[in-house]
């Protein structure tokens, strides 16, 4: 090959390499940026007086005097709304029966929209669920709810050949000629004074329990559950994996059985995680009965089985990478095989072993499928260390899935879901970062 072709070939490989890295970086940005921007919204947002009310009565947090003066000032503006409602209700009684029926239905919709915005109205019975006890706690959500109050959503299906289209009709038009017509511009103009939006930093999102299946409150039980599961899995898998790797590399005689065991290990590393989940249910819970039903310990054991092959392989490779000369030097000084492994080989292989371990820890923290049947519940409080043998736990990975697909009001609490995703991504990133730092530190110590 002549020199010109060679150079062109080298350059085109460089170009393709750089190109693929750029594509990857862009893809990563597209995925990560919304996670970060939306996830941060769970902690930093514009909160309303309803949020502060909620914090005070659910978590006993906040300054009661400041709150009551805020509530008083917002009630001043709200009372006019309430007056208009009672005014319209009396007006309703005087209407002709067919008109009364028509307006009653429309009025019920208005009332529901107002409840969503401001919380329970006077005359309502005390709500059963916490989510109905407060109005909108987040300002950007109240603007959506204001739109719901002002406009009625309708569907245009006049043309059967195209899909129905949503369009909005002002509710004020429907109440033309009644006393309620004044309500809509009033609420629109005075919403800020009724809800008192204010920039809020809610660190409690990380440290609080959730209230009424994540409508309010934080994600601490999920964070703690993830921590328990991942660390628990590590406690089982790491020692076991390192011992197995030492056996494979130092003690096992090459032969049929050994190569079978190794290929079995490699195969296990590629088994889909849902299979491990089913296995965990069948083996740990139904057969071994480590717990009566789902529990942290069953989940941790399942995760441990899942990450074990990865740990074994990482440790094996790290041990094989230790120079043969260390082994020779140690043995020539009259060291036993076991001593050589414990004092020379494992310390020298430690960076690689730890890297494998921490990456597995990250994987255990992020996996959903293995804990569906063995450990995870969608709603629950943080559990104590003593309960890990008997009780299940919420966990970030499972709750993200749950909020995205199974929660009854998923669209209303997207910020919680994004907050959980951000928390999980940060935990895994931090773990990987600490692996890099740890590795660099130990390698530096080894290299001198």
């Amino acid at each position: 090959m002549n020199i010109g072709t060679r150079k062109i070939l080298d350059r085109s490989f460089t170009a393709v390499g750089i190109g693929s890295i750029i594509v990857m970086a862009i893809a990563l940005m597209i995925v990560v940026l919304p996670i970060i921007t939306n996830g941060i919204g769970a902690v930093f947002f514009t909160g309303t007086v309803e949020h502060r009310k909620m914090l005070f009565s659910e978590f006993k947090r906040g300054d009661s005097e400041g709150l009551s003066s805020e509530v008083a000032s917002s009630e001043r503006y709200r009372s006019k709304v309430y007056d208009m409602l009672t005014g319209f209700e009396t007006e309703l009684e005087t209407m002709a029966p067919e008109k009364k029926v028509e307006y009653k239905a429309k009025y019920a919709q208005v009332r529901a929209a107002l409840q969503a915005l401001l919380g329970p109205l006077p005359g309502d019975s005390a709500p059963m669920l916490t989510r109905f006890k407060y109005g909108q706690t987040r300002w950007e959500k109240s603007e959506e709810k204001l739109h719901d109050l002002l406009y009625e959503s309708k569907w245009d299906n006049s043309n059967p050949d195209v899909m129905s289209k949503e369009y909005f009709v002002s509710r004020a038009i429907g109440f033309q000629g009644t006393s309620l017509v004044k309500l809509f511009p009033y609420v629109k103009d005075n919403l800020e004074k009724m809800l008192l939006p204010e920039f809020t930093v809610y660190w409690g999102f990380i440290t609080d329990s959730s209230v009424d299946s994540h409508f309010f409150g934080g994600i601490w039980p999920e964070i703690q559950g993830t921590f328990f599961l991942a660390v628990g899995a590590m406690l089982f898998a790491f020692p076991l994996g390192v011992v197995a790797a030492v056996y494979f590399t130092e003690y096992a005689r090459p032969g049929f059985l050994n190569s079978m065991l190794r290929s079995a290990n490699s195969t296990l590393a590629g088994v889909p995680s849902i299979v491990f989940g089913m296995f965990g249910l069948a083996f740990f819970i139904n057969t071994l009965k480590v717990s009566e039903s789902k529990s942290v310990i069953a989940g941790a054991l399942t995760l441990a089985i899942m990450i074990l092959p990865t740990i074994i392989r990482a440790a094996e490779e790290a041990i094989l990478a230790v120079p043969k000369t260390y082994r020779e030097a140690s043995l020539s000084l009259g060291s036993t095989k076991w001593n050589t492994i414990a004092t020379v080989i494992l310390p020298a292989a430690l960076p690689g072993i730890l890297t494998g371990g921490v990456i597995s820890l990250g994987r255990a923290a992020g996996e959903t499928a293995p804990i569906i049947f063995t450990a995870a519940v969608s709603v629950g409080s943080a559990i104590g260390l003593a309960d890990v043998f008997s009780s299940p736990t919420p966990a970030l990975s499972w709750n993200i899935y749950n909020l995205a697909s199974e929660h009854e009001a998923a669209s209303q609490i997207r910020h919680v879901q994004y907050g959980m995703v951000l928390a999980l991504v940060s935990i895994v990133l931090m773990l990987n970062l600490s692996a890099i730092v740890l590795r660099a530190r130990i390698s530096k110590k080894l290299k001198g």
């Binding site: 000369t325 020779e328 140690s330 043995l331 020539s332 000084l333 009259g334 060291s335 080894l446 001198g448």
Partner: protein, 282 residues
Amino acid sequence: MDARESSGSASAQKATRDIYLPPERRKISGGDTTHISAKEFSIYYGEFEAVKRVSADILSKYVTAIIGPSGCGKSTFLRSINRMNDLIPSCHTTGALLFDGQDIYGKFTDEVLLRKKVGMVFQKPNPFPKSIFDNIAYGPRLHGVNDKKKLMEIVERSLKKAAIWDEVCDRLDKNALGLSGGQQQRICVARTLAVEPEVLLLDEPTSALDPKATAKIEDLIQELRGSYTIMIVTHNMQQASRVSDSTMFFYEGVLVEHASTAQLFTNPKDPMTEDYITGRFS
């Protein structure tokens, strides 16, 4: 050849001693007993016979050099003395290799105890990725010395014996891998000496070093002569003639000639030896 026919008898013992006692070399007190003795000793890698029926006696406290072209089995022979060949699964031996009269490959020989008595320094300097102190103290700690003061004494003594104390005494806590190649090799010698072995096996200890560091290692061997039984494998014939009392010449696994260094280099009996030392083949 005398060495090949040597047995335990008194006359053979005397003949062996003659190998080691060239007129110009001083006699070493206590250096007249056979320390290591090979009898029809062969080493196989699987089917391949790497060392063929070698018989030789090595006297204690003297320096014995092993020379020969690459692949002649000299390193294999050296490594069999402290059973480092055990690391190669296909390796097995026939005949006898005696250390202090005991068969090294005997059924009941404890290779860990043997290696404690027969230390080894390797071709490439191989200090552990630990501090200089921990490197030297590694052996003593293994053998049960845990007292900090005692360890310090051993470390100092070993480093002084290996003639490197002055260079590293102020940085014992630094990683040994930060030293130069020659210093690392002397650390390895010191590490071996710290176990207080009887025999020192040097497997081409200077092949990875520059001439200056090589000279230092050679001086060190001269200083250790008389205290330890030293066996050195070398490619460098000048080195063999400089540092050793007797020399063994291996060719294709066969011990061709074993004689006092002076005699082997000036008046070899075997024509093959002559061809090799005069550089006709290598």
